[in-house]
């Protein structure tokens, strides 16, 4: 080609070079944009691809009784696991050979005994398949690995790269049903519970937040002290590839085990109380199949420490771990007598005659009776015929003669307490409620267990506040209905005469509604003599928990000091043994009653055990103390339920410088003394070591 001829081609090639520069310019500019301008954003995205944080579980802390006896612990459950990282690292053998070998070793322990080694190998491969997006975590092949298989795996470790026996902490309650409802149980947190658990003051202070999937205490001490028991999860950083296979692991934070919770509970006493309660109820079932439930509490009168707290039917928290059957669900949660229900804490019972000490104290304080004043034990003592019609006869058709305060409590005279109660309610309508509340009845006790019931300590003001609004609302609805009805009719009315007639009718109907309302208020909202009678003897509106009843007796016999009951004594570190938190008795208030009056009632309770209805310690010569029996009608007068009674029993010992108080309820027992009373006797004998 000649130079002249070349010229146009040169021009075209220069054009081509411009295009080349343009192409490279665009590519470089785009790379600059991605790598330099936006580089840190993409670096974060790429990092998110490979980094996984895997929590390392912390061992849940132990729960022990006051002398260190183990009640709840975490035991290793051995699981056969497969770790991808280690399995893949074994370059020498094909990993599928490892699986085949493993299948051979586990065959005798495989859940399905009929499966061949090949089938088991397939099962494991299917598990691996299902696990593929969480491969950075070890996967469990077999749970509850027995010792023999553990030995086999250890022996053949070299042929089984990636296979190991891992100890997974599992909650275990070695004493099974002992204090089951007090301890509670552990399961996965539900969505609704997360915010509730986050409210825990200790968790809040530590800035801890619960996550979906966390295992938490669902009731009892496990729930109340979950934050301390759970420990602190560790954290492991795992780098993964696109198939979620781990490629490197680093432990960022070691897990810290949970703290040890020391209860005020005395395991031996608890066991005695539970066994006796169970025995009594089983005996009652012979006659009445409905008799299935009961509760008892033993409390230290000088501190408020709960020494025993039993509730029947009993609950074994071990049964509530993992998957539960329909039968278990019914037994523990659905049945009328569900076993997970802690009746000592959440069960509300009419106290029956065990309430009479409050009536006595109120009467003494109000000055409406002296300890020596006697009342003839006949129904006519209640007053006029109409007054008598509102009251009860003496229980069991008894006649106790001339009854003073001591004898009234000892023999549990209903006539005496109706008479005295009527006087008290007349003199100071709020006094019975005030003293009941001051002794912890009908108030939240503040015990460190979740789910306690409040109960009701009634008074005329309470009755009005409780039922008044209900009838008020009904009246307003009636009046509103009348207005709507006549409002439209009056608007439609054409002549003035018809209008006036309708207005008159409306006024008449409104008046009728008001009359009805006043009638209802007089019957159901106002306080009557029968209310005084009823409530003075522990029936009527009175409803308390066994825990409240035990603490109320404690308050009377310790000189009027109302302590807050508590179940956890101290929290210690399981590694160092150091006490992290020591709980002290907490005095809530004192009973506004003189020591003289308290001594009178205490003496009367002692008379109950020496010659009265609670004289059951005859064959226990070392006994000193006092008690009060109760028989609480289940329904109101003239109903079928009125034929059935719960047995209640409260007591304390010893007489001088009392140490412990007892309260117990046995459903359908009819009498307290031979049901809950027997539980009390067993408890006192065990506590004091009496023969």
């Amino acid at each position: 080609m000649e130079e002249k001829e070349r010229k146009p081609f040169r021009r075209r090639l220069r054009g081509l070079m411009v295009v080349v520069f343009l192409v490279f310019g665009i590519l470089v500019f785009n790379l600059w944009h991605l790598q330099v301008a936006e580089g840190s954003y993409y670096a974060a995205m790429a990092k998110g691809n490979v980094m996984r944080l895997v929590p390392l579980p912390a061992t849940r802390g132990d729960i022990v009784d006051r002398s260190g006896e183990l009640l709840a612990t975490s035991v290793p459950e051995f699981a056969l696991t497969l770790d991808w990282l280690d399995l893949q690292k074994s370059m020498s053998t094909d990993w599928k050979d490892v699986i085949l070998r493993l299948a051979g070793f586990v065959k005798p322990y495989w859940p399905n005994k009929a499966e061949s080694v090949q089938n088991i190998e397939e099962d494991i491969l299917v598990m691996i398949q299902a696990h593929q997006w969480t491969r950075y975590q070890p996967m469990t092949i077999l749970q509850n690995v027995p010792k023999t298989l553990r030995a086999t795996v250890a022996e053949h470790q070299e042929e089984l790269p990636g296979v190991s026996v891992d100890a997974v902490p599992v909650r275990y309650y070695p004493q099974h049903t002992l204090a089951g409802q007090v301890l509670g149980y552990v399961r996965q947190i539900s969505q609704g519970e997360i915010s509730q658990f986050d409210q825990n003051p200790d968790a809040k202070k530590a800035g801890f937040r619960y996550q979906p999937g966390d295992m938490v205490g669902k009731m009892g001490v496990e729930k109340a002290y979950d934050f301390w028991l759970r420990g602190v999860e560790g954290e492991e950083q795992v780098e993964v590839d696109n198939n979620a296979r781990p490629v490197a692991k680093t432990v960022l934070k070691q897990p810290q085990p949970g703290k040890t919770i020391h209860l005020t509970l005395d395991a031996k006493l608890q066991s005695v109380v539970e066994n006796k309660l169970d025995q009594i109820i089983k005996g009652l079932q012979q006659q009445n199949p409905n008799a299935k439930a009961g509760a008892a509490v033993v409390i230290d009168v000088n501190t408020g420490q709960i020494l025993a707290m039993a509730s029947e039917p009993a609950m074994d928290p071990n049964a509530l771990i993992g998957n539960i059957s329909v039968a278990t669900d019914h037994q523990y949660f659905q049945d009328k007598d569900a076993a997970s229900f802690n009746r000592a804490l959440t069960g509300l019972y009419a106290p029956g005659s065990t309430f009479k000490m409050i009536t006595a104290l109120a009467a003494l304080k109000a000055g409406v009776v002296t300890p020596t004043e006697t009342i003839n034990d006949v129904k006519s003592s209640l007053g006029s015929a109409p007054a008598q019609a509102q009251g009860f006869s003496e229980w069991g058709g008894n006649y106790f003669g001339q009854v003073d305060l001591y004898k009234a409590i000892a023999m549990s005279s209903d006539i005496y307490f109706q008479v005295v109660g009527a006087r008290v309610f007349k003199a100071n309508s709020g006094l019975v409620k005030q003293l009941a509340n001051e002794a912890g009845l009908g108030e939240y006790s503040g015990v460190d267990l979740p789910g306690e019931a409040k109960g009701i300590a009634p008074s005329p003001a309470w009755k009005k506040a409780y039922y008044g609004p209900y009838y008020k609302k009904l009246l307003q609805e009636k009046l509103a209905a009348i207005e709507t009805k006549y409002g439209s009719e009056i608007a439609k009315a054409t002549d003035a005469k018809q209008k006036a007639k309708l207005q008159q009718q409306e006024a008449l109907q409104k008046n009728g509604a008001n009359v009805w309302y006043n009638q209802m208020v007089a019957q159901n909202v106002d306080w009557h003599l029968y209310d005084s009678f009823n409530n003075a003897i522990g029936q009527g509106y009175n409803y308390y928990t066994p825990l409240q009843l035990a603490n109320y007796v404690a308050t009377i016999v310790n000189g009027g000091k109302h302590y807050q009951p508590y179940i956890v004594n101290e929290i210690t570190d399981p590694v160092t043994g150091k006490v992290i938190r020591q709980y002290q008795p907490k005095l809530l208030n004192t009973l506004a009653v003189s020591q003289t009056d308290l001594d009178i009632v205490k003496k009367a309770m002692s008379d109950t055990t020496s010659y009265g209805t609670g004289a059951i310690f005859g064959n226990v010569p070392q006994f000193s103390g006092g008690a009060k029996t109760g028989t609480a009608q289940l329904g109101s007068k003239n109903t079928l339920a009125a034929q059935t009674y719960n047995g209640t029993f409260v007591a304390f010992a010893p007489y001088n410088h009392p140490q412990i108080a007892f309260a117990g309820v046995v459903e359908y027992a009819n009498h307290g003394v031979d049901s809950a009373g027997m539980v009390c006797k067993a408890a006192f004998k065990a506590y004091f070591g009496w023969k």
């Binding site: 295009v19 590519l27 790379l31 790598q35 580089g39 990092k47 590839d241 696109n242």
Partner: protein, 377 residues
């Protein structure tokens, strides 16, 4: 026939950058293919080295051969090309929805479309050189167009949209260099682009039927918005962009990238090898590689400019067009500004067919270079 004096013509800078690219290929593959065959980290590096060694023999042979002599076989080569492309449909093996391979043995197979580009360049160069000065009218464009269209349709039917687009790029550049009237040819190209764009728009907006496979349309949609589907079809592009972007200015370091090493990035030793360059060697490394390419291309344009005759010039510019278009599509695809098509990065990506085809192209450039216009003294 091989005279000593022609060595004086040799463009050493071209040869040097050619060698740099081959060396870069082995270096990059030694990290990019590390995990492709677990347990054999150097498997692909070794194979690639074999392709390069044998390819170098090919380069030397072609360089020694006077390219003029190929002109005699234009129509035979054209015929062989069509036969090979047609053979794919008869005995070809499929991979990922396309039939592109002819099996030779159980483990070796060739990809005729890689060589078809060369056949097009060689035969079209002769076809156009004969029409020098006769490409001024619209109807003059028809014959060269049909000449390219027949093999293009065969490739397109495999289906291989990427390679058929390479044919179009080669055709446009060679026509332009061969002296096609720039205004008429330019307006024709521009007009076609407009018509195709309009057709695509009508397809997406109003459902106009198009002779495109679903997956090809899908790729175009993903190209327009890769983040719309990061786990499905958009996965490749998204992971590739993350890989390149995360490399930053200096890169994560040799064998330190996570996107490729942990397999988030698919095809990272073949089509997406540039993402590894971006991730592990950063902006500096990526631009360095592009710089080597640029010098290599500019020297190739220089070879074209100094070629003995128009045929040599057209051969060279065809090869340049092929390389530049490959680089544009491949680097653009990995960094998200071009749609995903199975176009490898020339002289870098792993693959025997592509390596041999591209080395043959380089050999042709050397052949033209050695027989360049004698300088006037």
């Amino acid at each position: 026939m091989f005279e000593r004096r022609i060595f004086r013509n040799l463009d050493f800078l071209f040869l040097l950058f050619f060698g740099l690219l081959l060396g870069a290929s082995l270096l990059i593959l030694s990290t990019a293919s590390l995990n492709v065959d677990p347990g054999h980290p150097y498997h692909y590096v070794k194979l690639q080295a074999v392709w390069i060694m044998t390819g170098l023999v090919l380069v030397a042979a072609i360089a020694a051969f006077d390219y003029e002599k190929i002109r005699r076989f234009t129509w035979s080569l054209y015929g062989i090309n069509l036969v090979l492309l047609a053979a794919v449909f008869l005995v070809g093996s499929s991979a990922k929805g396309a039939t592109r391979w002819i099996p030779i043995t159980s483990t070796v197979s060739i990809q005729p479309s890689e060589f078809a580009k060369l056949f097009i360049i060689i035969t079209l160069a002769d076809f156009l050189a004969k029409r020098q000065g006769k490409l001024n009218r619209f109807r003059d464009f028809l014959a060269p167009f049909l000449f390219v269209l027949v093999p293009l349709v065969l490739v397109y039917k495999q289906p291989d949209l990427g390679t058929s687009m390479v044919f179009v790029a080669i055709f446009i550049v060679m026509m332009f260099v061969a002296g096609a009237n720039p205004w008429k040819f330019g307006s024709l190209v521009l007009g076609t682009v407009l018509v195709v764009s309009l057709a695509l728009w009508l397809h997406f907006a109003h459902g106009l039927p198009l002779p495109l496979q679903d997956y090809q349309l899908q790729r175009l949609i993903i190209f327009a918005n890769p983040s719309a589907d990061t786990t499905g079809g958009g996965y490749h592009v998204t992971q590739s962009i993350w890989a390149i972007g995360s490399g930053g200015l200096w890169g994560k370091g040799y064998r330190q990238g996570t996107q490729g090493r942990f397999n988030f990035l698919p095809e990272h030793h073949t089509d997406f090898i540039f993402s590894i360059v971006g991730e592990e060697f950063g902006f500096i490394g990526a631009v360095t590689l592009l710089f080597i390419y640029l010098i290599f291309i500019l020297r190739a344009v220089g070879i074209a400019a100094k070629s003995r005759d128009l045929y040599g010039m057209l051969l060279s510019t065809g090869v340049v067009a092929m390389f530049v278009f490959h680089i544009l599509i491949n680097v653009g695809m990995t960094s998200g500004i071009m749609p995903v098509t199975g176009i490898p990065l020339p002289l870098i990506s792993y693959g025997g067919s592509t390596m041999w085809a591209n080395m043959t192209a380089a050999g042709l450039l050397l052949s033209v270079n050695l027989r360049r216009q004698k300088l006037m003294f």
